[in-house]
Symmetry: none
Subunit: 226 residues, 2 copies
């Protein structure tokens, strides 16, 4: 059964949500403020996050942004109060998957939860670790090893590698990468992607000039062959 993390400070709301989700057979984890929520996202690895916008310590939108910044693609549904219309739009742009306006019925929330989980099921699964051809990646720790030797990857390189591994076997375009790894809306003419692919190759490939993992697909993009 999927596990849901509820990040909410209103106790009566927490109780209602917990009962509802448990009744539906979900595993439930709770956080009372933004900072705790952010911590539990990595500790509990929930399948779904229900995130209130108004929270003590760190508001929901910042939490959302932080989760995504780490490259975590866990589905997020935001809870907003009426009249926070602009917040809603922002929320979706921040990387949330959906939102529900308070007050809402539990069935309404469940419909969105199921829709979001269904969509997420189509996405490549989050992996804990990856191992192939002398390359070992521990996504949890953010560690990459080549033949046991720890590599020093930057954040950007790690997110790039994570995306490639999550889409291994597929050809991915520069636009996809800019969208997923850089959060760019548009696709400006830039060589940034190529640049970082080159850097990544230099670190993970034995012979960067004749790559084994990260191969170029001329005219289209790149493909990670794991």
């Amino acid at each position: 059964m999927p596990k849901v993390l509820i990040v909410e400070d209103d106790e009566s709301m927490v109780a209602a949500l917990r009962d509802g989700f448990e009744y539906e057979g979900y595993g439930v984890a709770l956080a009372g403020d933004g900072a705790a929520g952010l911590r539990l996202v990595s500790e509990e690895t929930p399948d779904l996050v229900i995130l209130d916008v108004m929270l003590p310590k760190m508001n929901g939108m910042d939490v959302c942004r932080e989760i995504r910044r780490g490259g975590n693609a866990v589905p997020i549904i935001m809870l907003t109060a009426r009249g926070q219309e602009i917040d809603k739009v922002l929320g979706l742009k921040l990387g949330a998957d959906d939102y529900v306006t308070k007050p809402f019925g539990f069935m309404e929330l469940m419909a969105r939860v199921e829709a979001v989980l269904r969509r997420a099921a189509g996405r490549p699964v989050e992996m804990e670790s990856y191992r192939s051809g002398g390359l070992t990646v521990d996504f949890r720790k953010g560690e990459v090893r080549k033949k046991g030797r720890l590599l020093d990857l930057t954040q950007r390189e790690l997110r790039l590698l994570r995306y490639f591994i999550g889409h291994r076997g597929e050809v991915v375009t520069r636009e996809q990468l800019l969208d997923a790894v850089w959060d760019y809306d548009a696709a400006p003419i830039t060589r940034t992607v190529d640049m970082h692919v080159a850097k990544l190759r230099k670190k993970i490939e034995d012979h960067p000039a004749t790559p084994r993992f990260l191969v170029t697909v001329h005219g289209t993009g790149y493909k990670f062959t794991g």
Copy 2:
């Protein structure tokens, strides 16, 4: 610009939506009842359908079900009144992509429209794959295999093959190919098509000199026999 079909009977709502979408640069088609909506979905081939649940003649959920029954994957956003909670759940199960509860702000609707269109853009509209006589084509991945062995096709070769498969059994002229695969307006006297057909044969045929798939129709063009 994308075209949206609005299926709604409340005239003030129609006016507001039409103005809003036109302001955002969308093309707009209108239907005042369910039957007309269903008809316009195929006649206008919109990129998105906004569908009210309460409609004369045929209600929105039935329209939604009918659209999907025909195999049409056009994104659908349902408009529901408050309190139609069960309808919402049903709506999503019927194959709608999202719904918005009345009353709603236009920005709220637009956020959902953009989200739905973004998701839809990732979906392949055409055939997913093709398989015949030891030849396997995965259009999604852009992979072509012959007897399981992955072939290395260029972009142009892949487009050419895709067109041939899409028109298998028909004789296609060089002009058609130049138009569809090369985006040429005119048809200059060129050997380009023949060249690429030859290259493609060399890759997909067992005996390129006596082709099985890509046969020449002397005086006319080529025919893909799948």
